[in-house]
Amino acid sequence: MKERPAHGYLFVAPSAAVLFFVALCPIAFAVWLSLRRFILVFHDDAFVGLANYRFLLRDARFFSALGNTVYFTVVSLAIELVLGLAIALLLDRATRGRGLLRAAVLVPWAIPTVVSGRMWAWMLNPDYGLIPRLLPVHDVDFLGTPGYAMHAAILVDIWKSTPFVALLLLAGLAGIPDELYRAARVDGASPRRTFFAITLPLLGPSLAVTVLFRALDALRVFDAIFVLTGGGPANTTETLSIYAYKTMMRTGDFGYGSTLAVATFAIVVLVSTVYLRTIGRSAGVAR
């Protein structure tokens, strides 16, 4: 539909302006900051070139945060996919109670991440929490013990994010024409064969999109972990975003904090680019 371009641009101008000034400019500014030594409290501001980045590459805490973030992403994503798919299948097939089930599944999504963090912290509290007291093992401080804390954080994320995964996959399932299932029955395919030969392959694009979204969210995770463990114990749940935050707001080092933030951003972009080039293309995700 050809229109005089001028009108169109007017419609789009406010959005473009907002995105440019409030999002893209700050990013550019953050990159600029990352090249400086900038400590707010001391009014210390000097250009240091790539010094921050050189430090980054030798920063053990950075790599620890990176490792935590990757571990968190991979594990929660894997579990969310399986669980989400199971729930999507359940929702797809449920004749009665579908509304109730879908409502139940939306509850975690509607609750602020911070609140869910608090909620689970309460349930996992070593002294008063529901879960330690229900379990046979009594002396475990989930949030205070290095190994357990990360998995508690993953549990919270699974609770919070599986609904989103389930809904996306449900939409994908709904997109598979009913006729294909009928044809498969007439063609003598067992339910198991139908699932693996027809349902799963046709769910490919939805799965690909879901994985991308969730992975990006997980790599940037901040809220839940911050409220749950604050990055502890002993930085074992410290993710990239939390490390960057602490550097900026607790230490006041905006320079290196920006470096960390830019590094996080670069990693996210890298992952999504690689993903879109390889898996995305073969699964038919249009870009």
Binding site: E179, L180, A183, V186, D187, A197, I198
Partner: protein, 348 residues
């Protein structure tokens, strides 16, 4: 190849929601049997019951004398061609064709051979490595056929397979289907709402309405000896004219009868001189030139069975709207219907 019998087949979705009402039907081995009727008449449901995609509320389905009512679709040895072809979009044509065989655990070499053989027969061998989205409508239709053929089933079921095609493609595929049936001499059960398809393709036709059989028989018989006004009206385009006899200046043999005359059995003329005995007078309402002939609608009489009547006229027929004209029925071809029962009666 096999016979298919439906015995008191019933499908109901609750009290008062009977979709299929106790159908009894015998389909002969190698016969092309079409189930035809308006939407909602139950024809697709019957097909699903035969295929095993739905379970009957009562009654039985027998294939070759064996009761298959409790068997799953895959075990009944029937194949189905769907309206939207139902080709698996992520599989190549070759994989689509081979799918039913892989489910039956047929050895790989046999599958490859049968697939190639079927593809060659349907002239789609050059498309084996393509995906469905790369194919034209007609090609997809052939792949759907191929998937059915490759199984060498006892019977072929067709669920309105031509409805999604455009007119030219439809007549082409119709011809191909008829040829295929002649070659295979297999049992074909075909569902359509298009009476032209029913007429051209079938050995016998089952006319359905509201879940019950209205008439069964060869297409020609159904056309010339319809059992009821409904059946008469369903076949033939333009529709048969059913009027009070006096509207066409005719006398009914007895009371309470309606006269049914097909458009091709009516003659229309403008010049009063040509009107011989038995012609009624009216005026021209609409003239529709169709190329090879012209459809003329004539206004006559009033009331429920008066009104307008359609006739077929020679290609050169021309008239203004409102022009007075005469119209005469060929009474040797007339049909009489009882107004109360809506069924056809013999004139005597």
């Amino acid at each position: 190849m096999a016979t298919i019998s439906l015995s008191r087949l019933t499908k109901s979705f609750g009290p008062g929601a009977d979709v299929v009402k106790s159908i009894d039907l015998e389909i002969q081995d190698g016969e092309f049997m079409t189930l035809v009727g308006p939407s909602g008449c139950g024809k697709s449901t019957i097909l699903n019951l035969v295929a095993g995609l739905e379970r009957p509320t009562a009654g039985a389905v027998l294939v070759d004398g064996v009761d298959v009512t409790e068997l799953s679709p895959g075990d009944r040895d029937v194949a189905m061609v769907f309206q939207s072809y139902a080709l698996y979009p992520h599989m190549t044509v070759a994989k689509n064709l081979g799918f039913p065989l892989t489910n039956a655990h047929v050895p790989k070499a046999t599958i490859e051979e049968r697939v190639r053989e079927t593809a060659e027969r349907l002239e789609i061998a050059h498309l084996l490595e393509r995906k469905p989205r790369e194919l034209s409508g007609g090609q997809r239709q052939r792949v759907a056929l191929g998937r059915a053929l490759v199984r060498r089933p006892k019977a072929f079921l067709f669920d309105e397979p031509l409805s999604n095609l455009d007119a030219t493609l439809r007549s082409q595929m119709r011809a191909e289907l008829k040829k295929l049936h002649e070659e295979l001499r297999a049992t074909f059960v075909y569902v359509t709402h298009d009476q032209a398809e029913a007429m051209t393709l079938s050995d016998r036709v089952v006319v359905l309405e509201g879940g019950s059989v209205q008439q069964v028989g060869p297409a020609r018989t159904i056309y010339e000896e319809p059992a009821s006004i409904f059946v008469a009206g369903f076949f033939g385009s333009p529709r048969i004219n059913v009027v009070r006899p006096d509207v066409l200046a005719q006398q009914a043999p007895r009371d309470g009868l309606l006269l049914g005359v097909r458009p091709e059995d009516l003659e229309v003329g403008l010049d009063a001189k040509d009107a011989a005995g038995g012609a009624a007078s009216g005026s021209v309402y609409l003239v529709e030139p169709m190329g090879a002939e012209t459809f003329v609608t004539v206004s006559l009489g009033e009331g429920e069975h008066g009104g307008r009547v359609s006739a077929r006229a020679p290609a050169g027929f021309e008239a203004r709207t409102g022009a007075p004209c005469w119209i005469r029925a060929d009474m040797t071809r007339a049909l009489w219907f009882d107004e109360a029962t809506q069924r056809r009666v013999s004139p005597a």
